[in-house]
Symmetry: C2
Subunit: 264 residues, 2 copies
DNA sequence: CCGTCTATTAGAAGTGATACAATAAATTCA
DNA sequence: TGAATTTATTGTATCACTTCTAATAGACGG
């Protein structure tokens, strides 16, 4: 995930094209050319050229009526194949199922996708009322338990720009106004080993605890999270629920070859 | 889906890169450089250059131990976002859930992704023993009910190369040895309005019926399918099961603005 | 330890992406 | 309805970037 490919010779146009895709994945459901061009920071004519090729490849499709652009069928294909193939995700999927069975709460699995955290899948507990989680969309870095966990353990250079953007756009939660605030927040997460968001200002009525999973290089690769309606979970540090979460994350880390203990 | 972008100015390198991704999505789980290069029909050094950029973008990742290549986290991100955004898929997902409830059989939803059909999601019936369906992987064109439905209704130029390759590689089902055989098979599917694969040589012990869904341009955009273990479904043309399937597909087509009736 | 196989890097030659501007198409508003 | 404005698409000369060949560096197996 962090090989030094900074200086390596790649193919510029390809990276430009991926920038467009990134803009589309992060942006709204159906985008106009000028919006895509603006997000990807290039003149519309250039974006258009790239979109032609992305459409030819099936990654993007254009609504023939409105001439707006959307992600296309090949994007689906890629994602579904990746879901099926990435080892850590396979293991992660069974981990959140097991954890759901153990604690009977909503569990979810997230990866980092360099726009931010993405929920890959979630499992609902066996009870009538549950929280609904949306997969695929990119979450906030400071405003979600998952994001905070990634931000706490990822190398700072990978997250700094996103955090800065979040702060500047006012999307950061109350009380986080400077990079220093953010650093303090994340240091707290790191010290505790999990990130707890509960009954506070971040998401009304929802509480969540997220824990990191590390790979054999001791880098964070997944986040496991418990989500519930406010008051439904026992969020104290030594509660059975939190213990199960920590154990699930640690067990998964171990299976992935990690030798690192997040904290405790 | 079939705008004439043949002659338009795109960005070649981007399409080359997407060719690599296509090779990776179609190929095996973990590929070596030379295999990728071979599948994408280019020298390894070239493939390597492209892979550097694909890795930088997060679409591909490289196992640092084996230096083999896999799809990466951004591929997941894209797919999950697309799953959530494409209108027809949203409607399709609820259609297969409803159909599952109506007939209590395994149902699935597939799209065409220009390598072939891809199962997007499936729903299991409420019964102890069900067939397991894998999402994401690309199915055969002649050797699956879904593939046959797409092949029957897609314009021939989109499917011809794939069919030819399948026949030449011996992956086509018994009895299909020439393009003529294939055309005859697909004409039969078209006449019947659905494709039935049942207790024959294609997949041992599994039977399936697939029906096409059309969009407002009367192009095929989705396929809905029922899957079951051999003998578990009533596959006669006028059975309640088949009727429900046809109705579900027709209703979905109607919602997507189609005015076309597949057949009777 | 040597030979073979695979991944990665280097460096000229010429192809193809870029930017800017023009046009076409669609949308808005009077 | 028609003019004005926004948005999408196409054209073209220049120069940066990709391409190819071939060399190097690592890994693996015997």
């Amino acid at each position: 995930m962090s090989e030094e490919l900074e200086g390596k010779h790649g193919v510029q146009s390809l990276e430009v094209g991926m920038g467009i895709l990134k803009a589309m994945a992060t942006g709204k459901r159906s985008m106009m050319l000028k919006d895509i061009a603006a997000s990807a920071d290039m003149p519309p004519s250039k974006a258009h050229r790239y979109l032609v090729s992305l459409i030819r490849s099936g990654l993007v499709e254009q609504d023939p009526l409105t001439s707006r652009y959307n992600l296309g069928p090949f994007a689906l294909n890629l994602g579904l194949v990746a879901l099926d193939r990435l080892d850590r995700i396979r293991l992660g999927l069974s981990a959140i199922t097991d954890l759901r069975d153990a604690v009977n709460e909503t569990t979810a699995l997230a990866v980092w996708s360099d726009n931010g955290p993405v929920i890959v899948r979630w499992e609902r507990p066996r009870r009538p009322i549950t929280v609904n989680v949306v997969t695929g969309t990119t979450l906030g870095v400071l405003g979600s338990a998952i994001g905070r966990v990634f931000a706490a353990w990822l190398p700072e250079r990978q997250t700094e720009a996103l955090i800065r953007r979040e702060i500047e756009s006012g999307k950061a939660p109350l009380g986080v106004r400077t990079m220093e605030d953010a650093r303090a927040l994340l240091a707290g997460v790191k010290a505790r080993g999990v990130s707890v968001i509960s009954g506070d200002y971040v998401i009304r009525g929802v509480e969540a605890v997220a824990a990191p999973v590390f790979n054999f290089k001791n880098e964070i690769t997944l986040v496991i999270v418990l989500v519930g309606v406010e008051g439904s979970m026992d969020m104290r540090d030594d509660s059975p629920t939190l213990t199960e979460l920590r154990q699930a994350a640690a067990a998964l880390s171990a299976r992935l070859g990690a030798t690192f203990e997040s904290a405790g």
